[in-house]
């Protein structure tokens, strides 16, 4: 997996958002946010859960959730042990809820943030039919909601180790945006358990050059290591 490529791709998706926040267990989204902030000339606000240096919150753990509800967070990241074609995510367990075959840590803030943050970027490096499924076993957070449900937020894109998907809210499905080097329409289709839209020709995800890789390595060392020391160590190798 080319982590630098993913970091760059996610930074592109973040674009010129005003305020990006990253949650638990999110080293690559954190690095991408750092890159996007650097590209904004430092104007972008980035809040990293668990960081002292990269958080200006002062009101305790609830402030992330309150500020999301206030509309003060534009972009957030979520993942899923399973993600399905309707953008439902499962962070909880595989198999029967009462007697799971595999149990993960839990849903964290996803049942809330996925519905309140305008642009949620889904990130799941492992791209196979076990991860990207027709239907999740457990909906930690739903990809879409009935019109009467208060929901200013939702998915914007899905980033995997093989490709980028856009989320088409109106069609309620993903659309392939670009394939990472080494992948193509067929290899992605074969590895994906859900249906999605696909362009006639599939662009290739931009590959970072040496200078950009150095810049990213530097950001990982100087910023990401504070919160994710193990990730930073492995990244340096």
């Amino acid at each position: 997996m080319d982590a630098a490529l993913l970091i760059n791709a996610i930074a592109e998706l973040i674009g010129d958002a005003g305020h990006v926040a990253t949650g638990a267990l999110s080293p690559i989204p954190m690095a991408a946010s750092m890159l996007a902030r650097r590209r904004s000339g430092g104007k972008m606000r980035v809040t990293v859960l668990g960081s002292r240096r990269n958080s200006r919150f002062t009101g305790g753990a609830k402030e992330l959730f309150d500020s999301a509800a206030q509309g003060r967070i534009d972009v957030f990241f979520l993942s899923g042990a399973q993600i399905d074609g309707e953008a439902n995510i499962n962070l909880l367990s595989i198999g029967d809820y009462e007697k799971p075959k595999v149990r993960f840590s839990g849903s964290f803030g996803s049942p809330y943030l996925y519905m309140l943050v305008p642009r949620v970027i889904l990130f799941r490096p492992e791209h196979d039919r076990r991860a990207l499924v027709p239907k999740v076993d457990f909906i930690s957070a739903p990809g879409w909601s009935e019109p009467e449900v208060y929901r200013p937020g939702g998915p914007a894109a899905l980033v995997t180790g093989k490709c980028l998907f856009d989320w088409r809210k109106d069609e309620r499905r993903f659309a392939l945006r670009s394939a990472h080097p080494g992948e193509d329409a067929a290899s992605i289709r074969a590895a994906t358990g859900f249906d999605y839209a696909e362009p006639a020709t599939v662009p290739t995800t931009p590959v970072p050059d040496a200078a950009l890789r150095e810049e990213i390595r530097d950001l990982v060392r100087s910023e990401v290591a504070e919160v994710y020391p193990r990730f930073a160590e492995e990244f340096a190798v």
Partner: protein, 256 residues
């Protein structure tokens, strides 16, 4: 003013509802080990909002009947092994929740409210598996607008670790205000600290906003490196090596 770790944990009866902080907020691991040693049973552990090695130690030792959390995880070090095994075996009752719901339900207790609404949640299976949560029509809306009400969580005991207390028994929590919410919400609050300072935090106005007043503190014990192998911001870093050792399969506290 302080007491021993053993005296402190003796205040936690079998069957108590115990609220604990997330790994980055000052976790009372030394007290947790003392609690395991005294053989507490049937705890209802509430993570505010997630928990790691602390809950895993308690589950491994058979102290837990009910676990209520948005997540139980060793973070970068992987799954919490005893928690994981217990859920799969059905040997603990798991109340899956979500971070803002736990914050809100504790906040409701802090305010003496029987319940509090929360946005989001609708369409999540977390909600579907919580019959104790209720979805109602927003009484202030003329159009359909379902919203979830959560019952307050009022723990018997809040337990956490902090860098310092002062001579009045006020505790420095700094920006970890989730610790204050826990203490406000709980009937009793037990705190371990690295040290007790012979000062009064209220003599320095700039410290006041980060202080949990002694009004909310039932008892304090000194436990040096009391969060180890987790860290506490002002004092020491988490011990990655010890946590990795634990994650590699050690289910018992001796190995930490």
């Amino acid at each position: 003013m302080t007491e021993s770790l053993q005296e402190l944990v003796a205040r936690i009866p079998d069957g108590a509802m115990l609220v604990v902080p997330p790994d980055y907020s000052g976790v009372a691991i030394a007290a947790t080990r003392a609690l395991v040693e005294r053989g507490v049973r049937d705890l209802h552990v509430v993570a505010s909002p997630s928990s790691g090695i602390q809950s895993d130690l308690l589950i491994a030792a058979g102290c837990v009947r009910t676990m209520e959390a948005a997540a139980v995880t060793l973070g970068e070090f992987g799954v919490a092994p005893a928690f994981n095994a217990a859920v799969r075996a059905g040997s603990i009752r798991m109340l899956d929740s979500t971070c803002p719901a736990l914050h809100a339900a504790l906040n409701a207790a802090e305010k003496g409210l029987p319940f509090i609404p929360l946005r989001g949640l609708i369409g999540s299976d977390v909600l579907r598996h919580r019959p104790d949560w209720k979805t109602i029509q927003n009484p202030f809306s003329d159009t359909p607008d379902p919203i979830v009400l959560l019952p307050a969580i009022r723990p018997d005991i809040a337990l956490f670790h902090a860098a310092a207390a002062d001579r009045e028994g006020n505790v420095w929590v700094g920006r970890r205000l989730e610790l204050s919410v826990m203490a406000h919400a709980a009937r009793q609050t037990l705190v371990t600290v690295e040290r007790v300072l012979d000062t009064c935090f209220f003599d320095r106005e700039e410290l006041v906003p980060g202080v949990l007043p002694s009004l909310y503190v039932t008892a304090i014990a000194v436990a040096e490196r009391g969060a180890w192998p987790l860290g506490i911001d002002e004092e020491y870093e988490p011990d990655a090596e010890a946590q990795a050792r634990y994650a590699r399969g050690a289910l018992f506290m001796e190995t930490v």
